[in-house]
Symmetry: C2
């Protein structure tokens, strides 16, 4: 029998209906929050080849058939998170505690190790490897949606400590949730209202508007477009979406996967170069699986949020953001850096870049 794991708990805010995971498995003792106790890491990386036994057993790996699970030889691995926010053994149970509503923390939380390379990520991995990442993400979504009680699957990535990453080795996370998160519900609600009025997808309309304005586009190919949203909350916030209407990421056509890999590499290479390898968050938003009728109005997309500023109290308290950089100015800056990179990134690239702005 496995070691006893305290089930994480979901709790609902009685005012706003927002759910929170109280994940005691990930708990720090209160004293660990004081500044005197800083987490320190040695040079050991559980995600590097040779250390497979230090992660939970793999649930998916791309590796030669001649190799064994949880041994070296893989070029991509997916393992359960060692400190999961949600766990899949157990049952989804709802309960009340006085006036408060709870739910058992049922779901799944997995980590996709992007490659054996400890250094390279979306911006510098070969396109072929990014293609493999996309396939693996799709494979896991297809698998996890079979779990009874799962209502939403979120793919996300925290790059660097300031963005919430706790391990250096490039990895992407997949979390299967028993609820549809509030922000996705808001998007569904807004997109549905827009559709009711106009019988058009609001995201498709945004793409048309961006193409016509041509002020905020960062990258584009036959299948995908990346731009800075008109009402972006954060400096250099970006959205990456398929140009053709599709509600589900996992419905991506095989012939489009290479285009997604290519624009991903391009955009993240540009972010690294233009903003000096900043921390960022990467999130895939798609329609929930059991949301009847979302297909005509919801359009899957990726949100990219470089972490360049501190989010202040004003933002937390209001959901109302102050963005000090107009998206048009940010787009122009990125376009200039992209042009310079295309003209051969010489060794003086960085100093040339900084000089040109002042």
């Amino acid at each position: 029998m496995e070691q006893f794991i305290a089930m994480p708990e979901l709790r609902k805010d009685p005012v706003t209906g927002r759910w929170v995971i109280i994940a005691t498995e990930r708990a720090k003792r209160p004293s660990q929050y004081t500044k005197t106790v800083e987490e320190r890491r040695g040079g050991f990386c559980p995600f590097c080849p040779g250390n497979e036994r230090t992660t939970p057993p793999e649930v998916l790996a791309y590796r030669p058939t001649s190799t064994q699970p949880d041994q070296e030889g893989w070029w991509l691995r997916v393992v359960p998170n060692k400190f999961p926010a949600l766990i899949s053994d157990g049952v989804l149970k709802r309960s009340a505690r006085g006036m408060y509503d709870c739910m058992t923390g049922f779901g799944a939380h997995e980590v996709l190790i992007e490659s054996p390379n400890h250094e390279q990520s979306y911006g510098d991995l070969p396109e072929e490897q990014i293609t493999e990442i996309i396939w693996a993400l799709r494979d896991r979504v297809v698998e996890l949606r079979k779990l009874e009680g799962v209502r939403y699957i979120l793919i996300f990535k925290n790059w660097q400590r300031e963005a919430g990453a706790s391990l250096e080795h490039p990895h992407t996370q997949i979390i299967a949730l028993p609820i549809v998160p509030k922000r996705v519900q808001e998007e569904l609600h807004g997109a549905s209202k827009y559709y009711d009025h106009r019988e058009r997808c609001v995201f498709c309309d945004m793409i048309q508007q961006e193409l016509s304005d041509n002020l905020r586009i960062v990258a584009m190919n036959d299948t995908f477009i990346c731009f800075l949203p008109f009402a972006g909350r954060f400096p250099f916030e970006m959205v990456l979406m398929p140009r053709e209407h599709t509600a589900y990421f996992n419905d991506i056509q095989k012939k489009h996967v290479a285009d997604l890999a290519s624009i991903t590499r391009q955009v993240f290479g540009l972010i690294r170069e233009a903003l000096d390898d900043p921390a960022y968050n990467f999130l895939v938003h798609a329609a929930p699986f059991n949301e009847a009728g979302a297909e005509p109005y919801y359009h899957w997309h990726i949100e990219i949020i470089p972490k360049l500023t501190k989010v202040a109290g004003f933002e937390w308290g209001t959901g109302f953001y102050i963005n000090p950089t107009p998206p048009e100015a940010a787009a122009k800056f990125l376009q200039q850096v992209a042009a310079r990179m295309a003209n051969g990134g010489d060794a003086n690239g960085k100093s040339a870049r900084i000089a040109s702005i002042h």
Copy 2:
């Protein structure tokens, strides 16, 4: 004539309806986001006595009648923010840019300098000074709501750089907005639905539940209660509210101001001692002024969010938070520290505290 100020712009997200301020006055050039350019500050503080001329002219000050505006002698000052997110000269104008909605950045953004003391804040200022701060905040709310076009006034404080503060000298901010922010709308909506079902205020019910559970209370006096919300998003997140139902902060009774000052000092003193003076955000949520009928169901309160963990991509992408510390465990820890402080905070207090947890 004053120097030309580019009007900040409000932009609306076409999907979710969320507004964002594009505050070009506060803009950094894109290059300033790169890590090589870190803001550095000298020893100069524009909020310290003697430097009154380096802030915009005061809009309110508590000072002896024998002293002149914008001169020394004050014990509390309110000045317009030098880099305002919103400005009050101009008119509120709505416009469309293609499919996108905009509004001029009309409003006000003020800074309350809490005292002449560069070091002391809510946790260590004398209670009498905190009382003065409360009166000054109320005075400004009463004044700012007269501005035509203002729909909401938010009082907030960012303590330390990690919470978004850009100046050290303790200060609280007041912002008058032409919209009701999304998070407040959500609270209004939820509280109103709750009231429709039960004809009771959800916040009043929470107070009853907290008193009966007695697991999450941090501090209490005759008029106010401070507890960790059952579904708190962040470790040690707290809420401080009047025990009696009131919708508006500025309706506070004179006899209750001292109780608010006292619990504020107590709670922030405890936070500083227990969590080693962490960064935090402080926010006052009250009903919007022109929201017809909000009085029976909305209950003003203060949110206190110590910044102990990084908010990760998962949270940004979903509005669904992972809190690694159960509020009950956090409350217990705080109660222990409070008890130790009450038993005489000797010089060894800190080491005794840390020893007792391990």
